[in-house]
Amino acid sequence: MTRHARPLAVALLSASTLAYEILLVRVFAIEEFHHFAYMAIGVAMLGFGASGTFLALARPGRERALRWFTGAALLTPISLIASAALVHQVPLDSTQLPWDASQWPRLAVLYLLLAVPFAVGALAVLLALTLEPDRVGEIYGAGFFGAGLGAALALVILWIATPARALAVPAVAASLGALSAVAVATSRRAAVVGALACVTLAAVALARPFWRLDVTPYKGLPQVEAFPDARRIAERASPLGWVVAVDASAFRHAPGLSLGYRGTFPRQTGLFVDGQIAGAVSHWGEEPAATAILDWLPSAAPYSVGGRGRVLVLGAGGGTEVWSAASHGAAVVVAVELHPDLVGLAGWVEEVGARFADVQVTPALGDARSYVARSTEGFDLITLGAGVAFGASVAGVHALNEDFLHTVEAYVDYLEHLSDDGILAITRWLTAPPRESVRVILTAGEALSRVAPQNAIDKLIVVHSWATTTVLVKPSGFSADEVHALMSWAWERRFDLDWYPGVEGPTSGFNVLDEPVLYRAALAAVAGRERAERFEAGYAFRVSPVDDARPYPHHFLRAGSLGTFLRSDRGSWLAFAEWGYVALIATLVQSVVLAGLLLVLPAVVRARVTMTRSWLRLVGYFLAIGFAYLAAEVAAIQQLNLLLGHPVYAVAAVLVAFLVCSGLGSAWSDGRRETDGWLAALALVGMLALCGALLLGLVHLLQAAPLAVRALAAMLVLAPLAFVMGLPFPLGLRWLARNGAEGVAWAWAANGFASVVATPLAALVALEAGSSALFLLAAAAYAGAATLGRAGAGTRSLLEA
């Protein structure tokens, strides 16, 4: 029993910290925005790296290591609870980072608070490794296996508990780990008392969390819940999102509604996912004319050119587009929605059928790209709504969101699933100056050039309201009658047609733009890639179409504009503010500073060495493998996001595969020569280069398969890669330990520093150059490591002068 106590403790502690990392990603996505996910991964790495450096520098003797192990095991659940409670007390407003210097120390405090449980948990694991050098493989494997289980555990928890309560579960797992550690404690009685106290504390936190989710006031949910009679009527939690339904008499949701509408508004229930508006359930009442409002929304534009029998709604949300299709005479409506809870709460499946008996409504749960890929039907209309709330769109908080619905490949897929007479309709918010709308027009033009390149000029219509732009694409071309019908419909609603077959030039309409940019964008889009590229190059924002390798359709800031934006006080450059991008840069800066202070500085102080070529080689080797590992992980997460249809699935799959298989690789490394680290790095160069070249293609091939098959394929692809990626670090470390322990501190410091900095840096590279390029960059880093390792293998020690 005692023999298994330490590996069991290690497995449970690793499971708890990994689960906490994944849950933090979810909590940050709810309380703040998606880009904070990088922070969660970064702090985990910071904690792991800090404990490694600390241990290598402290070099405790056996007795002290035994005491520390028990102490670290007991502290892990406590720090998990304390961290979750205290981070909710830090009043950080990330949107003020560029202007308000007082936010920076808060971000640093937040970072440190979050890093502590990871540091303590990792310390316990590393001490276990130190204490049982003859069972390194077993304990290392237990750590990785536990971490893999932790990733799976986090997913399971999110299905059954609210995110606030879920955040307490890692502490429960950790307290069980502490209980396991009691068996090998030197002071058994004290350890038992401590462990039981931890179990009690964790149980209390689970029953009644010491924290509550504090959703940023920039999101829609807290704003609507402030209405006088607002009432939260339903709440559902799953890994796919925290769904809340709110009833408030003053809540009304009609994106871009015509100023000419004179009818009544239905009573509505607001639906929110992760605190952001995801649609509204309209309660139409008995009046037959109640749904008339739907014809005054910009998204009704495609119905004005004639009946659409078979309609595919991508992102059904509260069902507005489903109701619109039904009320405009569709016979079949297929509505794809990623969040099953939204479909359940909205109730449109039953209600549309009850109101329109001759309309067949079919919900399709899952991601839209996968549905389109496997569908063999041809639709008369495929429609995508405006999606996120207007405020989020303007503020650029989604700049880092991977969105595979608005890439060139996606639009090509949609166009290929249209019937002979079919139309693709995309509605986006119209910001000032326009950017998202411009990109949609250019992406539509690019997709059109691949699917039906002849006479593109007749296949595109752009219409804008005071708040939205709707782009209609019809590969078979719009007829003169259709154009006239649409013009008449738009005129009545005070919408403006920027582009249509036969347009002679920009016109000044109801909703005035400072410059006729939508017309110019459409003109460039239908005139071929060369003209489009000239237009894109001359535009103030980055508006060129994005692809699946760089799926950031909400990122518009040119890197060169950032300096001007930061220097400005207010006003003219405000439009260039992209909070997601700014937060990422802030995280990167903070990572460099904190990692430098916590990881590198101690090593400089305690393990002073002369900066010889060998020393540089050592630092370079561990820096390179640290960066490469994280870069490969981030690239894999991005591409698997497309394959699995949701970032949470992608993160969980990548973490499970990487951790379990790297653990196996590490355990297997015990039997290899310690000088073989460079060979493993060399093998990884080839494997990652292959991933960069082929993985996205494979993802496209598999998209139509069932989710289970896609998940299995993901595991099969990642497993060998992760297995080999588990070799360079332990091999290098073992070699160092044999040839001079003084280098171990530097190895931990360099690897920890690279791991911390690599997370936001890799995200930045993915944003600017794409995930395929990131795989290649990881390959290049391993190539550097192989070169350094190979050169080092020829000497007795990496630290040998």
Binding site: A226, L259, V394, A432, F510, L513, G571
Partner: protein, 226 residues
């Protein structure tokens, strides 16, 4: 008697202090680009500290919104001035405000000489704003507790409409109740952060134009006040 004199001296000192802060605030707003003389004069005149809760008196003239209860805020001074200026305010102009809050925006318009009708969905805020405006000499401002979505048909048409609560759509009733030649300013987007201000110009009953103005940063409340 001595106490009375001392009390008056303290009050006078406080008044001077607030006036200095108010002038500094107006200078800042001018530096940010607000040019309309009537608007700036009103910003210099209206005692903003009377519109914030006592606990925030020392922050009344900072360029930040402040909480006023019911989860609502008094807008930051720059935004108040910016939106006022866009309306081209003038004496005797009939203005509908949707979202009274503490009544500060209404007071600024009344200070210019506008005939102000203001609506507030929170009953407690509407009552306190009515009392406050009366006490400060803005008794001509008419406050109503109602949902602004439907406008104020009894008093329509208006020369200008100012919506101080963010909305995802433009309520049609407000457009209807705008006089031909009138202007409406409405922020669209999140309550805080970056919003787009939409200017609606009603040239005639059948000719309504909108212009999406440059985005404006609505700064959040000061730390610890959320």
């Amino acid at each position: 008697m001595l106490l009375l004199v001392a009390g008056c001296a303290v009050t006078a000192q406080e008044g001077d202090r607030y006036e200095r802060q108010r002038l500094a605030m107006a200078s800042l707003i001018e530096a940010y680009g607000v040019r309309d003389s009537a608007t700036l004069a009103a910003m210099r005149a209206v005692p903003r500290h009377e519109f914030v809760p006592d606990e925030y008196l020392n922050r009344a003239y900072g360029d930040h919104p402040l909480p006023i209860g019911n989860g609502q805020t008094i807008s930051q001074p720059y935004i108040v001035a910016f939106m006022t200026e866009i309306l081209n305010p003038a004496p005797r102009m009939k203005v509908l405000e949707v979202g009274t809050g503490s009544g500060y925006q209404a007071a600024v318009l009344a200070q210019i000489g506008c005939e102000v009708y203001t609506m507030e969905i929170f009953g407690a805020l509407a009552t306190s704003a009515r009392l406050r405006l009366g006490r400060l000499g803005y008794g001509d401002v008419t406050v109503r507790h109602a949902d602004g979505h439907y406008g104020w048909p009894d008093q329509a048409p208006f020369d200008a409409v100012i919506v101080t609560a963010a909305a995802g759509h433009i309520p049609p009733a407000l457009v209807d109740q705008l006089r031909p030649g009138g202007r409406m300013i409405i922020p669209v987007g999140s309550v805080y952060g970056i919003q787009n201000l939409i200017l609606v110009e009603k040239r005639s009953e059948d000719d309504v134009r909108t212009r999406n103005l440059l985005p404006v940063r609505f700064v959040p409340m000061l730390e610890g006040l959320r």
